[in-house]
Amino acid sequence: MKKIKTIGCEEALKHLLTYLDRELGPVKRREVEHHIEICRTCFSRAEFEKLLKTQIREAGRETAGAEFENKIKTLLGRF
């Protein structure tokens, strides 16, 4: 496998949310993954963002499904 470039915290954080959304290209993804493995702060940050994302999703689920879909449709209708 090709050697993974070592990136710093700033670079890792810049791409963190895109990484968590699984929207990073393979090269960047591996760089961010690698950084999270070796950096404790960024690892905790990633865990936090993940947890928040999960909480948001679960909070949304609690709103009844149909009601929620209607909410989105209404919003989209205004664009």
Partner: protein, 145 residues
């Protein structure tokens, strides 16, 4: 997520948008991070400040903060975090470039975290020390020390 719902979304999103909101997020908004706020020195001493914080947040708080987001940003956060749409799918639904989806998402999440932080302070979920008072609101006198 049903296919009819998705195509319904697309149909409804065709209307061109007139937006008054600036697409260029101010640094203060996009760069805002709850995680960093929770790691301010005055909070050290908590075992795991960020987990503790999230445990205290009610789902109702989250939804309220979400509802308070400007529509332009709320929609992308909802489509992404709640519905799991990809950037590409959102770009198609909203008829904007993927880069716009990405920047709105970043800004929406920044604003959301900022709102949650403000709420947490108002609700007393976070106890501030005197040292931090210059950058944060004055604590209510009735609060216990």
């Amino acid at each position: 997520m049903t296919n009819t719902f998705i195509s319904d979304c697309r149909k409804r999103a065709v209307r061109p948008q007139t937006e008054t909101f600036s697409e260029n997020p101010s640094d203060a908004e996009t760069a805002f991070s709850l995680f960093e706020e929770l790691h301010q020195p005055f909070l050290f001493g908590w075992g795991n400040p960020e987990k503790e914080f999230l445990n205290k947040l009610l789902r109702e708080d989250l939804m309220k903060a979400m509802d308070a987001l400007p529509e332009l940003f709320r929609i992308v956060v909802m489509l992404s975090d709640l519905e799991g749409f990809s950037y590409h799918e959102m770009a198609e639904i909203l008829k904007v470039p993927v880069g716009t989806v990405r920047s709105r998402l970043a800004r929406g999440r920044g604003l959301l975290q900022k709102a949650l932080w403000r709420h947490a302070k108002e609700a007393g979920l976070i106890k501030e020390s005197k040292k931090s008072s210059e950058r944060l609101y004055e604590k209510d006198k009735n609060d216990r020390l």
